[in-house]
Every structure is written in C-alpha cells, then in structure tokens.
C-alpha cells in the first residue's frame, strides 16, 4: 500500500473509485434539484455533514474556506434576487420574493458542494483522486492536467510568498502596497513562476519524463467497496426521489 494514502476511518479504507462514484452521484443529484426546492437541497447537505462529523474534522478550517467563497455566493444571491422579482407562497400563507428563495437554494448548493469537496479532500489526496479517476477510465491527459495544476499552484504559492516578503521588507506603511505595485508584482510573479516551471520541466525531462505522470496503480475492487458504494448511492437516490 502506498504511504501517501490517508487512513484511519472506514470511509478512508474504501477504494478511491468507490468514493469518487459516490461523490459524483451526490454532485449530480444536488445539481438536479429544482432551484425552488429548499428542503430537498438541505436534505442533500446531510450527506457531507455526516461524513464531516464521522471524520471528526474541525469546523474552523472549513469556515475559513467558506469565507473565501462567500463573496461570490453573496453576489450570486443578490443578482438572483434582483433578476427574479416574482412572489411565491410558502407554508400556504406566507408570501416571499421568489428571488429570495431561489437565491437561498443557490447559496445552500454552493455551501454543500464546497463541504462535499472539502471532506473528499480530507479523505483522499489529489494523487489518489487522480489514480481513482484513471481507474474509472478518465483520460490521462485530464488527470495529468490536474496533477500539474496542483504542482504549479505550489510553485506559484512559493514564488508569491517570497515576493510578498521581499515587498513587505521594503515597504514603509502603505507605500509600495498599492494597486499599481501589486499589478506589477503579479506580472513579475507570472514571469518568475513560468521560469521556475520551465526549470522543473527540464529536471523532469532529465529523469525520463515523457508526458505521463506516474501514480500508484489501483487495486481490485473488494466486496466492501461494492457494498458500501452501492448502499451510499442507493441512499442518495432514495433521498432524491422520495416526495
């Protein structure tokens, strides 16, 4: 077994392909829910919440990530409220703007999707996700892109951090931190990260790289994988189809 695999929970013992099928099903079901069906959307949130709780994850870390997404979600909700100005009746008596309801559903879907992605990332490393995707027949070109994107993001982050430090050390108060300075910094960051990526690529070529990033092979699916995968998909489908 590859040491890069995360272990310790029953979910983490399942094959990456099983988990990807379950998560993919959840994602499709969530997307299929009507934008006016708030109760069913919330019901779909039960799945990632259950996994989150069973893994004993820290809420603070997730909320910090949610905060990054929040401005976009808020903008989407506001735009939706503005565009959808009809009225809708809830509980038979209360009339609320239709935009408010559909906006809330959109916000819930975004939050649930992020939570589902967050817990999946806690269960599987990116290498495992890509190995699972390859096992499910996703073309290498796509998984290679994902792996490269991940590596490139690390390179960019390292370059950005060293540039930020260099700028901060020579900034006095807010001088040197304005929009123009930041824009220049971003341009330089692109050039530097491009240069660094070129050097990384050269070192990969020196070790025989020919366009295929190696990943650990996937094992044979076990009965446990079929049983848990089938049960989870079935539960999700029942939850979606029940009135």
């Amino acid at each position: 077994m590859s040491g890069m695999e995360k272990r310790g929970n029953w979910l983490q013992d399942l094959d990456p392909r099983t988990l990807l099928v379950v998560w993919g099903t959840h994602c499709l079901i969530l997307a299929s829910i009507s934008r006016q069906d708030l109760s069913k959307t919330i019901l779909m949130g039960a799945f990632p919440v259950f996994v989150f709780a069973s893994l004993g994850l820290r809420l603070g870390t997730f909320l910090r990530r949610l905060r990054l997404l929040a401005p976009f979600v808020l903008m989407m909700v506001l735009a939706n409220s503005w565009l959808d100005r009809g009225a809708i009746q809830v509980f038979g008596v209360l009339q609320i703007p239709s935009g408010l309801l559909t906006g809330s559903v959109l916000a819930c879907k975004a939050g649930i999707s992020l939570l589902a992605l967050y817990v999946l990332e806690r269960i599987l490393s990116l290498d495992q996700i890509c190995a699972g995707l390859r096992g499910l027949g996703v073309p290498n070109a796509l998984t290679n892109q994902l792996l490269f994107l991940h590596r490139y993001s690390l390179v960019v982050a390292a370059e950005a951090e060293s540039m930020r430090r260099a700028r901060d050390l020579r900034s006095v108060g807010n001088r040197g931190r304005g929009l123009v300075a930041t824009a220049r910094l971003l341009g330089t960051l692109f050039l530097r990260s491009h240069d660094r990526s070129r050097r990384v690529h050269r070192s990969m070529l020196a070790r025989g790289f020919s366009g295929y990033l190696p990943l650990p092979p996937t094992d044979r699916l076990k009965t446990r994988d079929f049983a848990w995968g089938g049960a989870l998909v079935l539960i999700l489908l029942v939850a979606r189809l029940c009135p």
Partner: protein
Amino acid sequence: MNLPGITLDSVTLEYPCGTRALDSVNLHIAGGSAFGIVGPNGAGKSTLLNQICGYSLPTRGQVRIGDLPIERRTLDKIRALIGVVFQHADDQLFQTRVVDDVGFGLHNRGIPHAQAETVSREMLQRFGLTPIAEKSPFNLSSGQKRFAALCGVLVLNPQVLLLDEPTSDLDPRNRRQFLDTFRSLSMTRLVISHDLDFVWDSCENVAILDAGKVVAQGPTREILQNEILLRKHHLELPLRLQVR
C-alpha cells in the same frame, strides 16, 4: 564496465541577438573521471551544462556522450545515460512525497510501482533520509533537499553525473558528506562550481571558463594553484591555499 566520456568539439552557441554564450569550446572528459568547470559569474558554465544535457543544441560544433552525438533523435538515449543535479534542488523536487520524487525516474523507465518504491526507500536509507521519505519536499531543509535531489538521480544509476553548484546551499557537515559521496561514485562526473575547495578535493582535472571560452584546462592541482591565472579570470585560490 566501460563508462562513456564527454566530448565537446568546437561547441559554439550564439543567441539570435548575436551574443555568443559559448565560443569554440573544446573539452574531453574521460570516462569514469571527475572533472570540474570553474569560472566567474556569467562565464557560460550553466549554458555549457544545458548543452551537455541537450536542453539546447549548439549553433556549431558537437557534444558527444561516449560515441553518441547529442541530437534531437538521440536525446532519449542520452537522457538514459546521464543524471543531472540542478543548482536549485527546489527545481527538481516536485512530487508530493520525497519517496515519490526519488522514484519518479524509475516510474518513467517502466519499473513497477512497488519495486520503484522499494528501491527509492533503499536509496533514501543510504543517505539517512528515511525519516523524511513521507514528507513533502517543500518542507525540507536545503541540505535535505539537495540530498533528496541527488537520490532521485543516483537511483537511476546514471553513467554520467552532472552537478551544477552542488555545495552552494550546504552547511559544512553536509558539504563533507556530499564530498564523501561524490568521491565514492565511479561514473563519469562533471561538476560546475564556485567552490574551488570542493573541486580541489573531488576532481582530477579542471577547466576555467570565461566569457564562453575555455581559457585553461589541466590537472586540478596545477590549475588551481596558479594564482595569476585565477585572478585574471575573477577567481581566487582555494581557501586552503590562501596564505593567512
């Protein structure tokens, strides 16, 4: 085993703007020997390394590894023969775990995953790096990165080893360990370095490169004791030879 040497035959590299980065460089590095290239900043040392790796091809002249000329059609064969440890270990380490990075070249050679991992772990153990095998290369010290990068190359058992500034980020203890490792290797070795003491200790022959030209070459002990020659090319005597 007959180890291949490195031959540079009137190698010239000219950039489109007209700058001549290398000017009729002639060098022969015998198979199984250790050779040093020294020179001031901007002399063309790393450019020369790029020529030997085949990252860029000369405008004129030829580079050969053994009998194999470096051309586009021979690059795959050449890269199977040589191992390169780059100046910045960060440029070499890109996988999410050290052990995966060490095994990267083995995977590319079609070695099964489990076997590649076993061999990689053995190589890490040889350098006392077992405790960092599972770590991300981004979180290592400079010395650990340097040795992890070396492991990733040595695990491929190259017949020619190229090192660009190998001791630039090593503390004295790590430098000593690196030197001992370097001396214990038997393949053809080419070192590009500003660390003249390292070259003194590790290479039988040395060349001085300045402004893209080889201005002197010969036995290390002879060249690196010539203070006038060294000063003329912005170099100094190795520290051990400097009169206090």
